[in-house]
């Protein structure tokens, strides 16, 4: 089988897990990779637990199932640790990243004995201080790129700046806030 980096996202409906899975795919696409970004479509209720997926590869991706043995798991909402087995199938040479103000050691007891790398990031605080609202998905995107190493920080910054400039041409303050959040996020991941 071709070598594929697989990421599973856990969030709640409305928190941007689907968007984040596609943003990660888009960032990797822009560095020349083959990608897939897709959610697990359920009843789509606000607040309900949802999963989304990203695959990144140097070759065309043919597999079309969901991801059951991810290299990385990203948890956008730490309250999911109480109700979803977020480490199910997660490879032990991979890593999990949780959005929380706690340290990796404080989070570990909630991870069903997962033996791989545990990282945390306070994406909520970063988002609130940099963007002005609790939109944790861009700092979480920065964290997964840092932890997975699918591209360099600079490649990621340049790509995000381009994308944001295109998307928010009329709202430059959004671009600055998001760029600040991303740059801060890559340096505030605990447990790398």
């Amino acid at each position: 089988m071709s070598k594929v980096v697989e990421v599973r996202w856990h969030g709640r409906g409305g928190q941007g897990a689907k968007t984040a899975s596609e943003l990660l795919a888009a960032a990797a696409f822009n560095t020349g990779k083959y990608v897939q970004g897709f959610p697990e479509y359920g009843p789509e209720r606000m607040g309900a637990p949802i999963a989304a997926f990203t695959r990144i590869s140097d070759e065309q991706i043919r597999i079309h199932s969901n991801i059951y043995e991810p290299n990385f798991v990203v948890v956008i909402d730490e309250t999911l640790l109480d109700c979803v087995n977020v480490t199910a199938g997660l490879k032990e040479d991979g890593a999990i990243i949780v959005n929380t103000s706690k340290t990796p050691d404080e989070i570990k007891p909630s991870l069903e004995g997962y033996k791989g790398k545990v990282c945390t990031i306070d994406a909520r605080t970063i988002a609130e201080e940099c963007i002005g609202r609790n939109i944790p998905n861009t700092p979480m995107l920065a964290a997964i790129i840092k932890v997975s190493g699918v591209m360099s920080d600079d490649e990621f910054f340049n790509d995000m700046e381009d994308s944001l400039k295109k998307k928010f041409a009329n709202k430059p303050q959004v671009i600055d806030g998001n760029m600040k959040a991303i740059k801060r996020a890559v340096s505030e991941v605990n447990g790398i």
Binding site: M1, E22, A25, A26, F29, Y34, V35, Q36, G37, F38, P39, Y41, Q60, I61, R62, I63, H64, S65, N66, Y68
Partner: protein
């Protein structure tokens, strides 16, 4: 120059529609096909196309509006899924019997009930005898490429039949993947201008469409319709050859993946073929002669060609993402095995019904199928012809 992009299947097909710039698009929203007319209506509102976009009140009306537009000499298109296709039912037969080359994106979704919005092929499989050409697409690239080819195939003077481009709901329609798009001008040049040989607005050659046809004539018109369906294989191959010249991407009636010396093979349609190719590669690396045949053109059904491709196998599994509820196998199994009857002997064939209502199909599931085929080759015995994959029993 190909344009490298990342798009969902629905976005890709809506872009194909924009590039083709048809006269009329009439559609009614239904998950998971909704995005196709949704994106397209934005193009229409932004003035990027010259199309008359008709927001109708039902799928029955969507197909009726396409039929009216096409009968008047226009090029019309639509998209639908599941119950939407079911509601079009009687009009599907009208479109094909009037020989109106409407192009439709059919985004495969399970028919209710119980109500379900996810992928299986029960919707389009039910329409397999409606006289439409049916082409199936594994991923967003094929959905886009086949939609463009569908226009040329349907409108060919030797064909003049409506065409469905079928692809998997959510799996293909909503997943963002890499794609190579054609330039707008390339697409326009490839599909050309629609010049119908006859239409209702042609004042010089007045005609009627849809007259009463009683026992004296009905049978002959259906016989002719069946003959056209048989003959359009040649056109489908010609259009694919032209498409390859423009894009470099090769299409056939079906795709043979590592079939040359295959002893065991599965016959499959749409996105699961991709997952199954991974399994074929894995088995090949272990020295197992595994192969895969992915159906592209299901209607017409390329009998001789499929039989030839499968004749060297010892055992095959035909995979159906729809059940015929007859205790005798799914639609693809029935077609493949009846094609083989009397033409080739000694190939053992089993059927798997899989993935109904969006049940995810994993690599492990496909491995179960190949393992069963290898067991049949080893023992020479078929334990069970009709099987269900990945379902909880008991």
């Amino acid at each position: 120059m190909a344009i490298r992009d990342k798009l969902s299947g629905n976005e890709a097909v809506s872009i194909a529609m924009k590039q083709i710039n048809p006269d009329v698009v009439a559609a009614y929203p239904i998950t998971p096909s909704t995005e196709v007319p949704q994106y397209f209506s934005q193009y229409a509102a932004d003035g990027l196309v010259d199309t008359e976009f008709v927001a109708v009140e039902s799928e029955h009306s969507a197909m009726s509006a396409c039929i009216g537009a096409q009968a008047a000499g226009g090029r019309s298109m639509t998209a639908t899924s599941a119950q939407g296709l079911a509601l079009m039912w009687e009009m599907l037969y009208i479109a094909s019997s009037y020989r109106l080359p409407i192009t439709m994106a059919t985004i495969n979704r399970a028919l209710s009930g119980p109500i379900n919005i996810h992928c299986d092929h029960s919707d389009s499989m039910g329409a397999r005898d409606s006289g439409w050409i049916q082409i199936y697409s594994e991923n967003n690239q094929e959905a886009y490429d086949n939609f463009i080819q569908a226009v040329r195939i349907g409108e060919h003077p030797d064909v003049m039949l409506p065409v469905m481009d079928c692809f998997d709901g959510f799996i293909t329609s909503h997943k963002v993947e890499n794609i190579l798009l054609m330039e707008d001008e390339e697409v326009k040049k490839f599909v050309g201008k629609y010049n119908p040989p006859y239409h209702l607005m042609d004042k010089a050659n007045p005609m009627s469409m849809g007259p009463l046809s009683l026992p004296m004539y009905y049978f002959e018109s259906k016989r002719q319709q069946a003959e056209v369906m048989k003959n359009c294989i040649k056109v489908i191959e010609e259009v694919a050859a032209d498409f390859e010249k423009v894009t470099g991407r090769k299409y056939g009636l079906f795709e043979e993946y590592k079939m040359d010396d295959a002893e065991v093979a599965i016959v499959i349609i749409n996105s699961t073929a991709g997952t199954a190719k991974e399994v074929v590669d894995k088995l090949r690396s272990q020295g197992v002669k595994a192969g895969l045949l992915k159906i592209r053109v299901y209607r017409p059904f390329p009998v001789e060609q499929i039989v030839k491709a499968l004749s060297g196998c010892k055992a095959i599994a035909v995979m159906d993402r729809a059940d015929s509820m007859n205790g005798a196998g799914g639609p693809l199994f029935t077609d493949v095995t009846s094609a083989m009857y009397g033409r080739v002997e000694g190939v053992k064939a089993i059927n798997y019904i899989y993935g109904l209502g969006g049940r995810d199909v994993k690599v492990d599931d496909i491995e179960v199928v190949y393992n069963e085929l290898l067991e049949i080759v080893k023992t020479g015995k078929v334990k069970e012809v009709f099987n269900y994959l990945g379902v909880r029993e008991g």
